[in-house]
Point group: C2
């Protein structure tokens, strides 16, 4: 992905917020922020925005080794989503188009991003889901995904945020039972802490290991950026005949790849709207298909 | 004002947006953004956030000498607000508390900041004003301002945004006629283009020169930062026995000064909410008084 200048202040904002979550010591904050800014100011020496992002985040991680500022938040959000697990299953079973409902719930998960400053509780969650269920999706792309899932024998699902993973599991459970895909689905989480993204800990917490084979990308980056990912992840990626990519980070990493990929995401900024040729507006929940040539 | 780390990404965002308004040439954008980031990364060598801001903006200005990216936008917004001038006067005259209505209209002006990405038209403007008129203000501070205006013989009004200046003029006209202050009010605009802030051009466009003596701060900065302001402005500032400061920029510049100042503003970010001891929430329109010790 080319370097969008608008993303640099945004990545720095994320870094500043992360540092300020870790400590209140102004001199430490100042020192870490200075290093982050210096890294960002060298953006012209980079090939990809994700590499700049990685190096900025590395400055923060190196200053607070082993710390995960969003650990508690992730656990709380997983728990909140798990609390209504049976309610969501019922919602699918009661609906006239169960595939569409399961897919929309999966998408709803991406629309509820606590990193966007949304204060989450049961009521906010339910309202966000109801909104996502109402929003129309592209019927053609939806049918294409359905058909791809039916035909594929190696499905790779690349996760994004905590909380959201619960809805991913519900969708995967639906695919397993409806299309007889048990044993054919791999779910990838991040290698270790990266913002509020899912790691092995979250996958185990929501029982994803009961629904899919769980692997990691091997990197602590909120995107499956292949040049940095582990051999294990790249092998699973190469072997997959259908990939589901959740969220903006994974889209940034994979949009230019030559693969059959379905991108499920909420458009959270103008840069992503621009990358998708302004077909969608910011705040829209979308499904976008890419076919290997 | 101390250096708030959260402000650095925000200042960079403003710089990136400004550059992108000036040109579509990616190599120029890249070069200017790099210089802005380098300047920002030296933030620890500065005494004040406003100085960093000034130097970042100077990089942009030096790359596009004489250009004013917001010139058209400012003219349009002035015109839009002027179009309903008589309607606003009627609103004051028809109200039960004319001082409060005139003050609230003046505050409403600050709440409609096109730099915040609000797409402005007549309906949006009227709705924003109606909202601002409904919002309760601190009665005690309001009375304090009324009394200060009645007593003062040298009132300095420091303007902020284009469009908003129309409501400033309406408030000044009210003070002139109600408290017999014609010839006692000075209105300060920016020395030259600084974001969507008012300059002499805007003051003349809305006829501010008919209502007050118009001077400039002498600097192209969206804040009356005294160490950088002209001798003329500093003399007017020293001579004033009552100062009205509009907007966040002026508050950042003047909050620590030992003067009788009334700050009229919409709280647009968490840093300003923090500076004001979290007494107000983001998006609130407030009036805050400071008394010389």
């Amino acid at each position: 992905m080319k370097i969008y200048h608008e993303c640099l202040p945004c990545h720095l904002r994320t870094a500043v917020n992360s540092v300020m979550t870790m400590t209140e010591d102004e001199s430490i904050i100042s020192e870490v922020v200075e290093k982050c800014m210096q890294t960002a100011s060298r953006f012209r020496s980079y090939d990809s925005l994700l590499e700049i992002y990685y190096d900025i985040q590395k400055v923060v991680k190196d200053a607070f080794p082993g710390m995960d500022p969003f650990s508690e938040l992730k656990q709380n959000f997983n728990k909140l989503c798990m609390d209504s697990f049976d309610e969501y299953i019922k919602k699918i079973n009661d609906s006239s188009d169960r595939f569409e409902t399961a897919l929309k719930l999966c998408l709803a998960g991406n629309s509820i991003d606590v990193m966007q400053g949304i204060k989450m509780n049961h009521d906010v969650l339910i309202k966000a889901i109801e909104n996502a269920l109402k929003q129309p999706l592209n019927k053609k792309v939806m049918e294409k995904l359905k058909s791809a899932l039916q035909k594929s024998s190696n499905i790779l699902f690349i996760g994004d945020n905590a909380g959201e993973i619960v809805f991913d599991r519900i969708f995967i459970d639906y695919i397993n039972s409806e299309f007889n895909k048990a044993g054919h689905i791999t779910y990838a989480v991040r290698g270790s802490a990266a913002l509020n993204d899912v790691t092995i800990k979250d996958a185990l917490m929501v029982g994803m290991d009961k629904s899919a084979k769980v692997i990691t990308t091997g990197i602590d980056m909120p995107a499956a950026y292949l040049p940095y990912c582990s051999k294990e992840f790249n092998e699973a990626y190469d072997a997959a005949d259908c990939i589901i990519s959740k969220g903006q980070g994974n889209l940034e990493a994979l949009l230019e790849e030559n693969k059959n990929i379905f991108f499920l995401l909420k458009i959270k900024c103008n840069v992503i709207a621009k990358i998708l040729d302004h077909k969608y507006k910011v705040d829209e929940v979308v499904i976008e298909a890419k076919t290997a040539s």
